[in-house]
Symmetry: C2
Subunit: 339 residues, 2 copies
Amino acid sequence: MSVTIKDIARVLGISPSTVSRALKDHPDIAAETKRAVKELAEELNYQPDPIALSLKKRQSHIIGVLVPEIVHYFFSTVISGIEDLAYASGYRVMICQSNENFSHEVKNIDALLASRVDGILVSLSKETTSYRHLENIVEQRVPMVMFDRVAESLRVDKVVVDDLNGAYKAVSHLIEMGCRRIIHYGTAQYLAIGKNRREGYLRALADHNLPKRDEDIVRCDLYEDAVRITRGMMQRSPKPDAFFAVNDFTAIGTIKTLQELGYRVPEDVAVVGFTNGQIADVISPALTSVEQFGYNLGKTAVELLLERLNVPGKTIPARTRTIKTKLIIKASSLRKKIT
Amino acid sequence: MSVTIKDIARVLGISPSTVSRALKDHPDIAAETKRAVKELAEELNYQPDPIALSLKKRQSHIIGVLVPEIVHYFFSTVISGIEDLAYASGYRVMICQSNENFSHEVKNIDALLASRVDGILVSLSKETTSYRHLENIVEQRVPMVMFDRVAESLRVDKVVVDDLNGAYKAVSHLIEMGCRRIIHYGTAQYLAIGKNRREGYLRALADHNLPKRDEDIVRCDLYEDAVRITRGMMQRSPKPDAFFAVNDFTAIGTIKTLQELGYRVPEDVAVVGFTNGQIADVISPALTSVEQFGYNLGKTAVELLLERLNVPGKTIPARTRTIKTKLIIKASSLRKKIT
């Protein structure tokens, strides 16, 4: 995969030692040859071997960030945290978004590598199930930290949200408010966030001796999905008295639909979201939601990255940091005084 | 090892010269063919040969975008338009945000130039009043298109929103709804959008023979500003019966504050925003707002840029495109039937 001095030599029809000396600006090599070698090396994204690299590392002082969607409130707070610490440490930040599209994600990783960013922070698209493009980053020895939507199998630094506990607290709260049939609107199960929020939901039911119903767990992670699905949900028997949604927009689509159907929120049906974005305070009633502290997450990701950038030679084992969540209780779930 | 034009031609069953011209975006070649060639070239990691490369301009196929804030709904729709056309044309997109900070804007422009992007799309921060960093782009002959928040004095391609007419339509509508004292929450006057929206407001008052009051025009362009300022506004005499805000978040801060003070929206006070983001439909009552068609704006900016990228030698005079706006009337201003 990675380009060697031999590859460059073959393309240009010269010897590997000439290429090597050209790259080192050896006086014996003609200027013309040096230029051809350097241009090709750049074009093919040639990377010197790691020992040479640690001796003389070229730095762009740019950190590349790849997120699914920048408009998403959570990712925008993560980016704020990233930028604040990055700028304060003398780095600039370039952002790409995958738009939840795997092929865009791959192209963006290529573009970031081609731009010679010093390090990369990545959160996966919902479509991503293969990690070849990420392994490429590791092979090119570009430091990488994954955050929020991480690939569990890769041995790289990770910063994750404590999704399981966040979901557990949200669902336990609904049960304490008297809710007995709680629908979970979840996301893809191959994403850790999907799996962990579902697991938190299930554990809360189990710990409170409520039955687990498979049909109460539905893939529904967009505003439009919630608008489409919620009416049918309310025809079930026994009637659901709460919804726990994987994100705020889905929760808000649920509230709007329930209100249109004539249900009162939270008296008839309580709703809890996840993220606690700005929008959670705009909807009436205000949305109870799990605060993820995206700003801290972004800062933590940069901290891990800077430790690698500051000591390029040093071997640091892969680390995982977990950001605690907090349930912010508002009107959409407050059916009675908190005991 | 290295893939040639002949390899691509063989796979697609077309002639090498067609492949070559397709890669150069020659006008004689069908768009369908160009796409097939470019996709395969990318897939096979085709690299033009080094000699040809040094003669011709080196391309990164990356478009750099600098916006004030990616979380802002309007800019996120602009970015969607930019990305859709850019990806379809074989480009990747890298985004930097200034966070309304001049020094970040300058650093980001440097970073984009250092990354050798093929072209740059820029919207200015609220702080930007000097343009040296932009002149630097022009001097380096990197094609640039400014959008929305543009520097009027620079002779470069621009795509702007028809802010003046948008504001005119919004304020005329409020007057038709019976409002007689309309407060304008505006933004910095050295920004064209601030100046033009204010001008639209003033013309609508003049055309309907309403008095112009200097104290009714206030710099107030954040949710928090509106929460802080609106109470005092309502103590004026005669009492304001409408607010026209420069963006949706400011309008929503106004609605929330009015409701807390016991006023009914729109019966006592009507409110209109600008952008018509997702949030305009989450607030109750739904917010009347000026739709800016950010997606079209983004696409138009890329169109102008591609014309320059596709014919690097050609001299094209600086052009300005204006995107029409539309007033979307909802409950927050609907005090009576529209006549």
